[in-house]
Point group: C2
Chain length 332, copies 2
């Protein structure tokens, strides 16, 4: 079979609406989603129910975050005519199937998922050891299988989740018949994008540059980045390989990358100038995005339309799966 006539494989990925999109999200998720929509049949969803597993006490922010995420994705180039873009909570069957698959999912399988204990630890000060958090990978399994997702883009740390999904699928099919599709991991590069303090960029660390930040905010944030501590002033030789500013240059500055590395090492390039160069390029990189975003922002009813259309598009797929699941389990 030639590549052009081969059936496209179905990819499923979700995005939690937990706040403004930052540069780490952009390179960790959005770039991947843009590439995948060229090659596959993609189902992208706003994972608002997942958001509750850790943010159940912050739901007042949810409508705004959802709206902004949809606009961000559209402005970034996610094409709702090409992909199926929908909101998880619009598809109530996801909850029904979660209840059903939960009946055959051993607690031990969920308890051994590494990210579960990590999340508990990361949120030690908050009270999130809830039933829903433990069920997170089960809900993911439903997200995938209810649309018959074949490929799931995952980073290394998400592989155990997907292995769990595959086990649940196998158990279901063994108990009730071959209904569900076993998803495969699509291992994707998740580049480590450093924040201003050199640690992984993360809203909770308050070290982010958001993709919608205006020029002045970007410039201010870039100026606060840590650099090689041995390079105190211009003239001191720097080590680009340990400098978070240089890590970002790799993403944003192909035009001056070799030059930056050379002149940092020699000491000729000072950090102030180097940061200005980076800020210029970040601002330029996101200029088109921000313009489109601004334009979309002012189209009334757009988000509601997009979500309604997405729900209508995914619904027949979901209903087909649910009917097969109910029939196999002898349920109404």
């Amino acid at each position: 079979m030639s590549a052009s006539t081969q059936r496209k494989q179905r990819v499923l990925t979700g995005y939690r609406p937990t706040g403004p999109m930052h540069i780490g999200h952009w390179f960790g998720n959005v770039e991947n989603m843009l590439r995948l929509q060229e090659e596959h049949e993609c189902f992208y969803f706003i994972a608002d129910w997942h958001m509750l597993t850790t943010h159940f006490d912050r739901t007042a922010e949810l409508p705004g975050f959802t709206r902004e995420l949809v606009l961000d994705l559209l402005a970034a180039g996610i094409d709702p005519d090409r992909v199926t873009l929908y909101r998880q909570s619009d598809i109530k069957e996801v909850a029904e199937m979660t209840l059903l698959l939960g009946m055959i999912t051993p607690l031990g399988w969920l308890e051994r998922v590494p990210t579960y204990k990590e999340r508990l630890r990361d949120a030690a000060e908050r009270d999130i050891a809830n039933y829903g958090l433990l069920g997170y990978p089960l809900l993911q399994t439903v997200d995938i299988t209810i649309v018959k997702g074949e490929l799931v883009p995952v980073g290394e740390d998400q592989v155990p989740h997907l292995e769990l999904s595959r086990e649940i699928v196998r158990r279901f099919n063994r108990l009730y018949g071959p209904v569900l599709v076993e998803p495969q991991p699509l291992l994707s590069e998740t580049p480590l994008i450093p924040g201003t303090d050199g640690r992984k960029m993360s809203k909770s660390l308050d070290n982010v540059i958001n993709v919608r930040d205006d020029e002045e905010t970007v410039r201010r944030a870039v100026r606060t980045f840590i650099t090689d501590p041995q390079k105190v002033r211009r003239g001191d030789p720097g080590r680009p390989e340990i400098c978070p500013v240089f890590t970002l240059h790799r993403r944003f500055s192909p035009d001056i990358l070799a030059w930056t590395e050379e002149n940092c090492r020699s000491g000729a390039l000072g950090c102030v100038e180097c940061k200005t160069n980076l800020a210029d390029r970040i601002v330029t990189y996101f200029r088109d995005f921000r313009e489109r975003r601004e334009e979309l922002e002012h189209r009334p009813g757009l988000v509601e339309e997009i979500l309604a259309a997405g729900a209508a598009k995914v619904r027949p797929v979901v209903e087909e799966t649910m009917k097969a699941v109910r029939d196999a389990m002898h349920l109404s």
Copy 2:
């Protein structure tokens, strides 16, 4: 306010379709349901999703069990014009609300429910330590609160479940606003009905008399009942207070109860005759029920009609609750 104009309180109770109804169910559940429908606004539901918590590997029997349970309840006198009789799985919002309440239900609250560990122990040979089983009291909480149930008939052993429901309701209302109604227990006598071996009548102990058993089956089962081991033959004095046959006489034989006690103690009444007397009365007691049951059995489409009407009746109540829950949580 006079009793006649006082608003009736709303009662909610569910019944798991796990097999033929026996005499223990009849006096433990059905009698109670018959009495409550006279006094309250009752919501009775077929708890088929609950059945999955322990019987997920036996779902092929579910349609038959559901059908038989509906017919049994109708024949027993549950009046679908007076109560709201529906099937849990017809109300998909129950799954949605279970997912939502699960996000705020601490695992510790569920793990400490005594019946959870009991069930695990009772089914030690089977593999039921699943996510859904742990969530059993959460699902019950949704059953109750989604119809704004005010009173829940419970035996002593179910009081911790209801206390958990009340805690979940309080937590929800504290987090999102006063939406859910805190249910109150309606402590109900759950008489211990002994089976043929003297232990509590239970299908899993194979010691039951089913309410639909024909006359010959009833007589055969009654003959196998154990009695006071010190009373070997007629003439030996018996101890009615330790005899399971006499315990059943208390339910079925008001006409000869004093006579039976007296003549058992004196030894004048032999166990064979005593059992014949009991079997006569059990057969008579259920004769009308069995005739109505037989008649209903032959009305095509009856069960489907009843369940469709029940779903239509409960749906507006459920939709009102779900809308309030979603709004309070800022969800779509």
